[in-house]
């Protein structure tokens, strides 16, 4: 039971808004010590944990080219493009992106989107450009809301799209784990198909909220004046 103290440390640390890096490092060391792991093995675990998870960090590899494009006005161009399409509001634009992200992820094309290569350079500036056209100016709280919703559309889209694809990590994990543990013969396709109803529900729920975003932005812009 005492090893659960490490979990409690994480919860308390995040609740008190201590720097997450510090929380995670300390909680990891404490739980490992309570679990009877020797200090040398703890160091090893930090080493192997880092080595085996390096692929997450590769997301930052695109930053030099994205930064270079921003230097030459990529965000400004994305904004300008949207200002020509009068029917495209912030909410509708993000709805289209949500659909695109879910659909491509459902075919396994997970790396097409993402914040570094898609949301920051193209989607967020377009969403803000649409708001700028609709309301004249965009206040600081509106910018925060648009940024949060751009990132959220990307995450919701990829989560509830990728599970419909047979060769994605979570689907393979389910079939590998239950087949090995319980001597079942579940096919990855059977599992992926049962992810489709939830994917549709995710699109309807989040899409509905995105369409209501326009109303919220409008009242935020009214508050200002």
């Amino acid at each position: 039971m005492i090893v659960l103290l490490g979990v409690a440390l994480v919860v308390i640390g995040f609740a008190l808004r201590v720097n997450p890096l510090l929380v995670v490092t300390v909680a990891g060391i404490v739980s490992a010590l309570l679990g009877g792991i020797s200090p040398l093995h703890i160091l090893e675990a930090f080493g192997t944990g880092f080595t085996t998870s390096r692929s997450v960090t590769l997301a930052f590899l695109v930053l030099p080219i994205i930064g270079l494009l921003e230097r030459y006005g990529l965000q400004q161009r994305a904004k300008a493009l949207v200002s020509q399409a009068a029917a495209l509001t912030t909410g509708r634009l993000l709805l289209v992106y949500l659909f695109f992200r879910q659909l491509t992820a459902a075919f396994g094309l997970v790396s097409i989107g993402g914040t570094p290569q898609m949301v920051r350079p193209v989607i967020y500036p377009m969403a803000e450009g649409a708001a700028l056209r609709s309301y004249g100016t965009v206040t600081e709280p509106m910018t925060e809301t648009i940024k949060a919703n751009s990132a959220a559309a990307d995450t919701v889209g990829v989560f509830f799209g990728e599970d419909c694809f047979v060769a994605i990590g979570s689907v393979l994990l389910i079939s590998a784990y239950v087949n090995a543990s319980y001597h079942l013969k579940l096919d990855a396709l059977q599992i992926a198909i049962w992810a489709v109803p939830t994917a549709v529900a995710a699109f309807l729920i989040h899409g509905f909220r995105l369409l209501r975003l326009d109303g919220r932005l409008e009242s935020m812009s009214d508050d200002r004046g």
Partner: protein, 323 residues
């Protein structure tokens, strides 16, 4: 055969170059510690290629990682100011280059997808060109280099190195949060080794009522959510909750069909991923990259969707597996 290791070296090189730039920046508010953080991060990414399995080298790398985490964790690192173009200059350049600006940006997904889908079919001298299973990462690496080359041709910067100055600007806006996803994955490893999962599983088994279908489904779904929020991803929660509730109670006792029960159970866990700062690469890195004021702003936006979708998933779990 071409594997994925060179891509880690490329990324390590980029981080190292950022560290060196900061070391030369006299105006940087926290010059030396920030420089050390990125240099160590870059070196560790490269060193990982030569460390296989546990041992002294792995322990040494572990010590370096802990030092990095502490340097940043106690607030010794900071963000410098990087010289870039003004808003007016960007407007002018956007008006001049127009849609040409999208070409390098779209090169990234296009090349990634081509290599990821077609790279496995390339055969030279009877052997596959790419190490099996590495296509997606190799695709990302090739795409990044290709996009950079296209960018240099289209934009014609005065020096190619300006890309790394701009890269530093963005990487510094992410800051220490860049290390968080990897630290969280280490925490998951330590939790598992320390037996946190088995403890949670044991508790859940005691609490779950054995004869109510609704309560058992709720226990499976909510257990997935809570445990996913603690561990940062649903993958770690799935085996534990399935062993505690999903298999023995729902499938064996109540006769649920396993495929829909497990598939939707995992998706219930994904609702938890939307709500937790422990899923740093999905929920904390994007706000940092978008330079949001509220680091938890994206999570707050996702919570209502997660709650509604969880309710839908619970309904699905009560219906589909029992048809």
């Amino acid at each position: 055969m071409i594997g994925a290791e060179w891509i880690y070296w490329l990324c390590g090189f980029f981080f190292f170059v950022v560290g060196v730039q900061i070391a030369f920046d006299r105006e940087h508010p926290k010059r030396w510690a920030t420089s050390a953080f990125w240099c160590l991060f870059g070196a560790a990414l490269c060193a990982g290629s030569f460390i296989t399995g546990p041992g002294a080298a792995s322990a040494l790398l572990g010590a370096v990682v802990i030092v990095m985490a502490l340097i940043a964790g106690i607030g010794l690192t900071g963000r410098g100011i990087v010289q870039t173009t003004t808003a007016a200059e960007r407007e002018a350049s956007a008006a001049r280059l127009r849609n040409l600006l999208f070409v390098p940006a779209l090169t990234i997904p296009a090349v990634t997808v081509i290599v990821a889908l077609g790279g496995g079919r390339l055969v030279i001298g009877g052997r596959p060109l790419l190490v099996p299973g590495s296509q997606t990462l190799v695709g990302l690496g090739v795409a990044t280099v290709a996009a950079l080359a296209v960018g240099w041709i289209v934009l014609r910067p005065k020096t190619p190195g300006v890309a790394f100055v701009e890269g530093r600007r963005l990487l510094e806006s992410v800051g220490w949060a860049a290390l968080l996803p990897q630290m969280l994955s280490t925490l998951g490893l330590l939790f598992t080794q320390a037996g946190v999962g088995t403890q949670v599983g044991a508790i859940v088994q005691h609490v779950v009522p054995e004869h109510s279908r609704i309560l058992a489904v709720l226990a499976y779904a909510l257990g997935m959510v809570v445990f996913t929020m603690i561990m940062g991803n649903a993958f770690a929660a799935f085996p534990i909750m399935t062993a505690a509730v999903g298999w023995p109670i729902l499938v064996q006792q109540m006769g649920a069909h396993p495929a829909p029960m497990f598939a939707i159970g995992m998706l219930a866990g994904f609702c938890g991923t939307l709500c937790t700062p422990m899923a740093a690469n999905f929920n904390l890195v994007p706000p940092a990259l978008l330079e949001m004021r509220d680091r938890y702003g994206q999570i707050k936006t996702q919570v209502p969707t997660a709650i509604a979708l969880l309710a839908v998933n619970v309904c699905f779990m009560l219906i589909f597996p029992f048809l």
